[in-house]
């Protein structure tokens, strides 16, 4: 099986970096199609840089990034993104926010006006899947933080991306809401067969959701450990209280602690 996202020996220095230190160095990472990958690491380790590299928002100074069999030389167009900040547009209703990607991406862009009803139905379907049934007419600021984040996930998925990039999407939520959204994310992944790369600080989150976990070192970021997660799917939140789960989280914690010390 060939990799869907293949980051090969990538070194990247931001033009604006004052110390000239690379954000990531000799980074190697392979994620297979349909896989749920998680990237964990100490803060400032270049996780966000990795997101930008994989989506073609930044191009590596050295090395290659291949997504879906093609070397990335422009924004990849098949990606959906969600961040810690839901970044909903306050002047649009939640539904219109979710439809926003369709106003950009072809072929939806030219079809949107004539097939509006079909797309609206699809958006409402997604809203129902994340537990926001019938809330589309509300403005995002009328929703709670957790609900906005759910809507943000819908927006990231509406154009059926082949790659979903999540940058600490649940970082700002309370732990109950976070666990609820883990389950939403788990079900979305099961239903859509999309390749997901999740960047997170939360080791339990990574262990619960993903098939494969990459640990990154402190800046300049490299992958210091790669770990497959073999808990069978569908997973129940109960597994997070099993000894195996704790052992895995503990092991990951060891890698991160090492990475922090090395810095």
């Amino acid at each position: 099986m060939s990799a869907f996202v293949d980051i090969h020996d990538v070194t990247h220095v931001y033009a604006r970096a004052e110390d000239g230190l690379p954000a990531v160095q000799n980074l190697n990472l392979k994620v297979h199609e349909g896989e749920f990958a998680a990237i964990v690491g100490p803060s400032g380790c270049g996780k966000s840089t990795l997101m930008k590299l994989a989506t073609g928002l930044q191009f590596p100074a050295e090395g290659t990034v291949v997504v879906d069999g093609r070397q990335v030389g422009a924004p990849v167009k098949l990606a959906g993104m969600a961040f810690q900040n839901p970044t909903m547009l306050p002047w649009r209703t939640t539904l219109d926010n979710i439809l926003l990607p369709l106003e950009i991406v072809e072929p939806h862009r030219s079809r949107l006006r004539r097939h509006k009803a079909e797309y609206v139905a699809k958006a409402e379907g997604l809203l129902a899947q994340v537990g926001l049934k019938g809330q589309g007419h509300k403005f995002p600021w009328q929703l709670s933080g957790g609900m906005q984040q759910r809507a943000s996930l819908c927006r990231a998925l509406i154009h059926e991306p082949k790659l979903l990039m999540l940058d600490e999407p649940f970082g700002a939520l309370d732990s109950f809401t976070r666990e609820e959204l883990w389950c939403v994310m788990r079900d979305l992944h099961a239903a859509q067969k999309v390749t997901i790369i999740l960047v997170t600080h939360d080791l339990r989150e990574a262990a619960f959701l993903s098939d494969r976990i990459f640990c990154m070192s402190a800046r300049p970021g490299r992958i210091v450990a790669e770990r497959e997660v073999e808990f069978p799917r569908p997973r129940d939140l109960e597994i997070t209280y099993t000894p195996e789960f704790s052992a895995l989280v503990h092991e990951l914690r060891g890698h991160i602690a090492q990475a922090r010390q090395a810095a």
């Binding site: 422009a74 959906g80 970044t87 950009i104």
Partner: protein, 255 residues
């Protein structure tokens, strides 16, 4: 709810009180109407000169709105360009600031050289004086789009234009409408200055003639008309702001 009704009543009480105090002081201190006419005298003058005042006020209103309209169109356009291009922004900023710091009254003679005395100088003065805040505000609104939002759209293959029109411009609207309140007041100042120096009609021109002839009550009447007109135009833009960008005014502070 006591405080709420008090708040609603306060502007009226203070306004009426202000004029009442003025009236009383004029009578008690026997101030000459040449120095400071009492409100009743001014009101009487407004009534006496109503036809003349109405005619000139209409003209001033037109001049202001024409200049303001130009400023809105031009300001939006230039603001969009400056907001979406850091290069053009950095390049033209010194020029813009330099131009803006010229007192516009000093430009009127040049406008007269170019266009002669008539309706053009007041409109142009109103335009020149009022476009700057619009440009700056629109540009700021567009230039401060959240980087995450930009990433979301760019990762979908959005062009710069897409981002400016889908996110930048709507996002700049509260800034834009906020600047309109400043711009309408400035445009009004501009048209009156233009009329004072380079027109044969308008409240500005009426002011110049009345003061040359020492018709003090008429000068004050013209000032009152200017104030009323200014408040009305300000209120209309403030209303437009509220109804167009309600989404931006949900803070407790704005309530």
């Amino acid at each position: 709810m006591k405080t709420k009704s008090q708040l609603a009543l306060a502007p009226w009480v203070f306004t009426v009180g202000f004029f009442a105090l003025w009236e009383i002081l004029c009578h008690v201190l026997k101030i000459s109407s040449f120095i400071l006419p009492a409100p009743s005298t001014i009101l009487w003058a407004v009534w006496e000169y109503r036809n003349q005042l109405a005619y000139h006020a209409m003209h001033t209103l037109w001049m202001t709105l024409a200049g303001f309209g130009l400023a809105v169109g031009f300001g939006l356009l230039l603001g969009m360009v400056l907001g979406s291009s850091r290069l053009i922004n950095a390049g033209t900023y010194p020029l813009l600031v330099g131009f803006n710091s010229i007192p516009k009254v000093a430009v009127v003679p040049i406008l007269v050289f170019w266009f002669g005395v008539g309706w053009v100088p007041p409109v142009m003065t109103a335009f020149l004086i009022s476009f700057f805040p619009i440009v700056v505000n629109v540009a700021t609104g567009i230039a401060t789009v959240e980087p995450e939002m930009e990433d979301v759209l760019r990762a979908l293959g959005a062009s710069k234009r897409d981002i400016v029109f889908k996110v930048g411009v709507p996002r700049a609207m509260p800034y834009f409408f906020g600047s309109l309140k400043v711009a309408i007041t400035l445009a009004y100042v501009g048209s009156v200055i233009g009329e004072q120096n380079a027109s044969n009609v308008g409240i500005g021109n009426l002011l110049t003639r009345a003061s040359a002839a020492f018709e003090v009550p008429l000068v004050w009447a013209a000032l009152v008309v200017l104030a009323v007109l200014g408040v009305i135009m300000y209120a209309i833009t403030a209303y437009a702001e509220r109804s167009m960008t309600g989404w931006a005014q949900r803070s407790q502070m704005a309530a």
